[in-house]
């Protein structure tokens, strides 16, 4: 049987998608399923790892059926996943030990504050390239050890496995309790705060610091290599890649050269710039991260500016305020008014990520007057994404000493034309959308396809990239500066809202 397609599974924050791509990188079929978001307490966000695995078991056959093929025609499987989300499970039964703690969860804030005081940011930046933040996995593992009785002991005894979503899925796909592979890749592992960013191995000092026993942790393999064959669900199909979703998007946008950048607009938004094999340390609030490691080739690094809340602000507007019934309607509502009416929303729901890194920030709506309608609020929701991007682009430009000349945007929110125009306006550079908006899935497919020789090299992949849309700046420079000032003042008002009281949950 001819192997016709490459399959990707994108295990994202809101949903899991399975997509088949053909040789030209064109989407052939897609199946998707959302999973439940659990908010047990303010600031807590959890997923059910079993529900997610069950969703994968449903969407994989759906995607195959959509293309009218069976597993024999799949050349390889690539996995992309929401990063940093932490799941611990029982090695013997395969059952998760509690719900997965999601990257947006801020329960580790008190611990993180202590770490930033002592031993301080430098200690961590030197080793793992990341400042302490509620965003990353290691503080969560520590939190679980401190709050779940007997867990630390069981972990030390080797009864427990840790993983981010790719590890959980690969373990289940390759047999689970019956010899499942417990592996991760550098793009995911380097976001735990436990990996040495230079050697890409578990750092003994950091393991020691967080009290994480080695048997808990997966083996770190390359982002693109043949890990093994699936036994469940897709028997015999080679699993050829695993990448964190944002690094997958960078790969899918074919940003293979130094200086090439993309921003993916989803639940959160993430701007990544390829820095080649150089490990660049940011002085402007960006993260140093692994872009990808293909087989035995040298590691490629990136600078990253994550924005925690962008699309999820629209979801909040829909689900919690009920002002719209579907996410795309935000554009319809925003277009009922000419401007924001002086209203700004800073969505610091999980504190502020890049470039501020302030876990004491919380969301604010400022500039409210009787004049403000839901249309103005809708505009402020979209503008929040645009201005957050502006702050990150400013940081990228400052770090590189060069100005970004265009922004390659992708992700679900690129269907919002008003947002795309706002981005071009506030960044004052063209914004381009590639022909495949599902770059996360495409990147995972590309990496897996390279592994098995479905595609020969990066150049062929580059040839698949085409411009599908472009938005040009069209904003009065004075107005741009004035509005940016207003945004910055709004951000100031979000800072310091959470008052520190050591040892207390916040």
């Amino acid at each position: 049987m001819v192997e016709r397609y490459v399959m990707s599974i994108d295990q994202g924050t809101m949903s899991t998608r399975c997509i088949l791509f053909d040789h030209r990188g064109r989407l052939v079929s897609v199946a998707q399923r959302e999973h439940r978001q659990h908010f047990p307490r303010p600031g807590w966000v959890e997923h059910d790892a079993v529900e997610i695995w069950r969703n994968v078991q449903r969407i994989v056959p759906e995607a195959l059926a959509g293309a009218g093929v069976d597993a024999a025609q799949i050349a390889a499987l690539g996995i992309a996943n929401q990063r940093e989300t932490t799941v611990l499970w029982d090695r013997r039964t395969g059952a998760p030990l509690g719900r997965a703690i999601v990257w947006q969860d801020t329960r580790t804030a008190p611990l993180v504050d202590t770490l930033r005081d002592r031993p301080g940011d430098e200690f961590f930046l030197d080793r793992c390239g990341l400042p302490p933040s509620t965003y990353f996995s290691a503080p969560r593992i520590r939190w679980l050890f401190d709050h779940v009785e007997g867990l630390e002991k069981r972990a030390q005894d080797g009864e427990v496995l840790f993983g981010t979503m790719e590890s959980w899925l690969i373990w289940n796909l390759t047999g689970g309790t019956d010899g499942g592979l417990h592996i991760s890749d550098p793009t995911n592992a380097s976001r735990t705060m436990l990996v040495n960013i230079r050697t890409l191995t578990w750092d003994p000092e950091l393991l020691d610091f967080f009290g994480v026993p080695r048997p808990l942790l997966p083996e770190i393999r390359s982002s693109a290599e043949s890990y093994g064959e699936a036994r469940a669900l897709l028997p015999g199909v080679r699993i050829g890649a695993a990448l964190g979703d944002q690094q997958a998007a960078l790969f899918g946008q074919t940003c293979f050269s130094q200086g090439e950048a993309k921003c993916t607009y989803g639940t959160g938004s993430f701007l990544l710039v390829n820095t080649g094999t150089d490990l660049v340390r940011s002085h402007n609030g960006l993260l140093t991260t692994v872009a990808y490691k293909i087989a035995n080739e040298p590691t490629v690094y990136a600078l990253e500016g994550p924005m925690a809340v962008t699309g999820s602000l629209v979801q909040w507007f829909r689900d919690r305020l009920g002002l719209i019934s579907t996410a795309p309607e935000i554009e319809t509502l925003a277009r009922t008014v000419e401007d924001n009416g002086g209203c700004y929303i800073v969505p610091a729901f999980s504190g502020l990520f890049a470039p501020h890194w302030r876990s004491d920030a919380r969301g604010v709506v400022v500039g409210l007057t009787s004049y403000i309608t839901k249309g103005h609020l809708a505009r402020a929701v979209l503008e929040a994404t645009a201005w957050q991007t502006r702050e990150v682009v400013d940081a990228v430009n400052a770090d590189s000493g060069l100005a970004l000349r265009q922004l390659r945007a992708d992700g679900g929110m690129t269907s919002d034309n008003l947002l795309m125009q706002m981005l071009a306006d506030v960044l004052d550079i063209p914004v381009v959308r590639p022909l495949v908006a599902e770059t996360v899935s495409l990147g995972a497919a590309y990496a897996a396809g390279l592994t098995v020789g479905y595609w020969p090299d990066l150049e062929v992949l580059r040839g698949n990239w085409h411009r599908a849309g472009q938005w040009l700046p069209d904003m009065d420079p004075e107005r741009r500066e004035r509005e940016y000032e207003c945004w910055k003042r709004a951000v100031e008002r979000s800072l310091g809202w959470m008052i520190r009281s050591p040892g207390q949950p916040r």
Binding site: N417, L435, A437, H466, R467, A468, Q470
Partner: protein, 254 residues
């Protein structure tokens, strides 16, 4: 002629009942008020819920009229929602055909371009989302006309002739629309501007209602054969994409 359809009569009675009072009603109340078996009432309520005519409160499980009923007269599908749901398929269509893709919906006697994917050759192109096209001279418009999603109200001086190929005589246009209904797709060959051509197919929502049109367009020599007829290969790709979007929007048979 067949008699009234019982389930539709019952559905109408349920809607009247829910509209009658300010209170949400539980399944038992609906069933007993109308003298229906609970199973029957539940089936009808679930169908009405599926088409958004009825909403169920998550906490209590009680029913009330749905928001869609309030907007029956206007387009029930938000254009930005349509773009968002079409995005992947429109991209795939542009990738496969090598041509530019546009989506259109009716707006005040014209076609509003709600989505545009560039021809994937990386040449300089400009987004024309928000542009308005004539109904009678564009393939998108002719498809919307043919499937009842829009109507032309010819001005006194008659329909505007953009080129010598524009269909301006009502009988010519009507004949073309009948043909589009029969074929399931429509074309525009140098009818809006000389040298350009386009093909379009309907996008259907729930119940088969046409909510928009998707089309390919470009220079006439790329869209048509030497005899000026649209290329069958393009039409096959176009109709596949239209069907895929329609399926996603909940149209059962297309």
């Amino acid at each position: 002629m067949a008699g009234p359809v019982q389930s539709i009569e019952r559905a109408a009675a349920i809607l009247r009942l829910l509209a009658g009072g300010p209170r949400r009603l539980g399944l038992g109340e609906v069933a007993s008020s109308l003298g229906l078996a609970k199973g029957t009432a539940h089936g009808i309520l679930r169908t009405l819920q599926h088409v958004d005519f009825v909403e169920q409160d998550e906490a209590t499980g009680k029913y009330q009229l749905g928001a869609a009923l309030l907007h029956l007269g206007t387009s029930y599908l938000d254009v930005n929602e349509l773009r968002s749901r079409s995005l992947n398929w429109a991209d795939a269509l542009a990738a496969r055909s090598g041509e530019a893709v546009r989506l259109g919906t009716p707006l005040e006697g014209r076609v509003l371009v709600v989505h545009h994917v560039f021809r994937p050759d990386d040449t300089l192109q400009t987004l024309d989302v928000g542009a308005l096209l004539p109904l009678h001279a564009s393939s998108l418009g002719k498809v919307l006309l043919a499937f009842g999603a829009a109507t032309v109200d010819p001005p006194e001086e008659g329909l505007e002739a953009y080129t010598r190929h524009t269909l301006v005589a009502p009988e010519d246009l009507n004949r073309a629309l009948a043909e589009i209904r029969e074929l399931g797709w429509g074309a525009e060959v140098q009818e809006m501007s000389m040298g350009d051509a386009g093909v379009a197919a309907p996008i259907r929502g729930q119940g088969g209602l046409v909510v928009g049109a998707i089309g390919l367009s470009g220079p006439v020599e790329r869209i048509c054969d030497t005899r000026g007829r649209p290329l069958q290969a393009l039409i096959a790709l176009l109709r596949d994409a239209a069907r895929a979007i329609s399926r996603d929007l909940g149209a059962a048979r297309w």
